[in-house]
């Protein structure tokens, strides 16, 4: 069917709204000169600036926080996915639906909810004090930001793993059990290996938004967190140095694309993911 011409309007759209903007960012990152086309000078200074220990520290901090939250969501999410996948169809559909509903609530509201829970006068401390404990310092620190990330991204880890687990052929498990394998062996030899594609998808869908978030660190971090997303936001909306901001963006993009390429190698069944949203 000669239908390719139908796609041309979109290709035009893509060029204007996807390619040109990214090209502009690239140009900004490689130049200085107050954004005025007339005084462009090509330079690698913006990228060199990023090599300053302060900024490398920011990058490192973002990556390590993202890795931690990915690990936590994996450890918490995998068992959850397993438990739900083992239920009968009706029950597990209901459970997954319930699991997903919070995800559909506005992302900012979910993060705001933790603001009200974790504050010094928040609900959690209120309960603790009532029970006779000392109030804890639960907000504006690493833990709070980690918690915020885990809370927001947990469903993104559970869903891919769950959807892979339910597709595992039950007869494989039965056969293994018939051959004498204990529950542990069935898990490590059959279930886990088959669930790896789901794990990979889950990891990608959590790690990428986690590394680039700036809202969670803004709201729950108390102004003390400069993650790489915050850095970009600050350069564009605070300091006004679009050149440096663009350089950081390019670095982020490259980093993410490399990560995606690596995980794509593991994952033949490209689900395309839906990450990069928060």
């Amino acid at each position: 069917m000669k239908t390719k011409w139908i796609a041309y309007p979109y290709i035009l759209w893509m060029i204007i709204f996807i390619i040109v903007p990214l090209a502009l960012i690239l140009v900004y990152s490689l130049t200085t000169g107050e954004g005025d086309i007339r005084n462009i000078q090509f330079t690698l200074d913006n990228f060199k600036k990023f090599l300053d220990p302060i900024y490398i520290d920011v990058l490192w901090r973002s990556i390590s926080l993202a890795l931690k939250s990915t690990a936590v969501t994996l450890v918490l999410g995998y068992p959850m996915a397993m438990i739900i996948s083992k239920e009968n169809v009706k029950k597990r559909n209901a459970m997954i639906l319930l699991f997903v509903i919070p995800m559909w609530m506005n992302f900012l509201l979910r993060t705001y909810a933790w603001l009200t829970l974790l504050g010094k006068n928040g609900f959690i401390n209120y309960i603790l004090v009532k029970l006779g404990f000392e109030p804890l310092n639960l907000i504006y620190n690493d833990g709070a930001v980690l918690l915020g990330m885990v809370y927001n991204f947990l469903p993104f880890m559970v869903l891919p793993i769950y959807s892979v687990l339910i597709k595992i052929d039950k007869s494989l498990i039965e056969a293994a059990e018939d051959l004498g394998a204990g529950k542990m062996k069935v898990f490590t030899r059959i279930i886990f290996p088959l669930s790896i594609p789901g794990i990979i998808t889950g990891i990608t869908m959590v790690f990428m938004p986690a590394v680039s978030t700036f809202v969670i660190s803004r709201l729950l971090g108390g102004g003390q967190y400069m993650l790489i997303g915050n850095l970009v936001e600050q350069q564009f909306l605070g300091t006004g140095d679009w050149h440096f901001g663009s350089a950081i963006s390019i670095i982020m993009m490259v980093f993410i694309l490399i990560t995606m390429a690596i995980t794509a190698k593991f994952d033949e069944d490209k689900e395309g993911g839906g990450g990069g949203l928060w």
Partner: protein, 348 residues
């Protein structure tokens, strides 16, 4: 098929209604106002809209620097903005502001002389006073045992995680400079580096760097000490009388927020009418009362209650105010400020 057509029809219908609504908004003249958060009595905006039959798009910013970048980057034609002294100086020097036609702002006559013709805008060619104040330390009497009279107390280990600092680079660096005994307009790199070191030292003791949330937090007694602007202090003390405001002995900052018309404005006359409106005594009094800040409008002051006028927080005498400096535009040194602030923020 019929069902599909009907469904599409419904959607198109909704689309058209939607577009009509968006179209409707633009019938009235609009004015884009760009102000600090929590810095106006919302009913004042409504009154302006009603009286002049216009629509006001009211937007807020958190710091002068945010506002500057937003206006500089362009793409939004703000008609009225409310920068502070040093930022006005910068904007005038960079040609970002329109000259104000004082004939359109007769209510200027209600402004006290001492707020006019200041260094940052000689002759008030570009700006009209809105509010003024100081900054200092607000503390909770029940949580702080010693006398609070110096910036030093914000570095006291005893108050770890009980200290709130302003999430504003100019103000926080100024606090450090003052603590060290330097001018808050220092252009001396060594002095600035020292200030940076102080703030880095302080960071582990700071509970959070906050903006408008400070009011809620201090009233809710979530922290013992905070750096705040005088107007916010008035508002907070109103809600929780365990709080006290003090201007430290090393000195503080005297600031002025004025109304300006950025060059990007599309409706200069309406902007001037807005500025004039804000200086009507009753309007200025309403704003002052709502947000707690200090008005430069002497006619408005006559409408305020006794206890506010005598408040040393809101209207300190020369003696009570102590040694104050007005911020000046750091010009090229702003880059140093940016770097310092970034380094402080990225510390673990």
């Amino acid at each position: 098929m019929i069902k599909n057509i009907r469904n599409i029809g419904i959607m198109v219908f909704i689309l058209i209604i939607g577009l009509i609504f968006t179209g409707c908004e633009d019938k009235k003249p609009t004015i884009n106002v760009y102000n600090w958060g929590d810095y106006i009595d919302p009913s004042v905006i409504k009154d302006f809209e009603k009286e002049f039959n216009v629509k006001v798009n009211y937007n807020t910013f958190a710091t002068n620097e945010d506002m500057y970048v937003s206006i500089k980057k362009g793409g939004t034609s703000y008609d009225v903005a409310f920068p502070s002294d040093y930022m006005i100086e910068r904007m005038i020097n960079e040609g970002m502001l329109e000259k104000i036609n004082k004939e359109n702002i007769p209510n200027l006559k209600y402004i006290e002389d001492r707020f006019l013709d200041l260094e940052f805008d000689p002759n008030n060619d570009y700006s009209v006073p809105y509010m003024w104040g100081t900054f200092g330390i607000i503390y909770n009497k029940n949580m702080v045992s010693e006398k609070v009279d110096s910036w030093d107390i914000l570095w006291d280990e005893k108050y770890k995680d009980q200290i709130l600092m302003l999430d504003s680079q100019r103000d926080s660096i100024a606090v450090a400079l003052k603590k060290l005994g330097y001018s808050m307009n220092s252009r001396n790199i060594d002095e600035l580096e020292e200030a940076k070191e102080e703030l880095i030292k302080q960071k582990p003791l700071v509970y959070a760097y906050v903006g408008d949330e400070v009011k809620d937090m201090m009233v809710g007694e979530e922290a013992a000490l905070a750096v705040v602007w005088s107007g916010d202090a008035v508002a907070m003390i109103r809600e929780n009388d365990n709080l006290e405001y003090v201007i430290p002995k090393e000195g503080s900052n005297l600031w002025f927020d004025n109304m300006v018309i950025p060059k990007t404005s599309k409706n200069k006359e309406l902007a001037e009418q807005f500025i004039n409106f804000m200086n009507r005594p009753e309007i200025a009094a309403r704003n002052t009362d709502y947000i707690g800040y200090s008005t430069p409008n002497y006619k408005a002051m006559e409408l305020l209650p006794e206890d506010i006028i005598n408040s040393k927080v809101a209207y300190p005498t020369d003696e009570e105010i102590g040694d104050v400096e007005i911020f000046k535009d750091p010009k090229d040194i702003i880059k140093v400020y940016d770097e310092i602030w970034l380094e402080i923020k990225t510390q673990r």
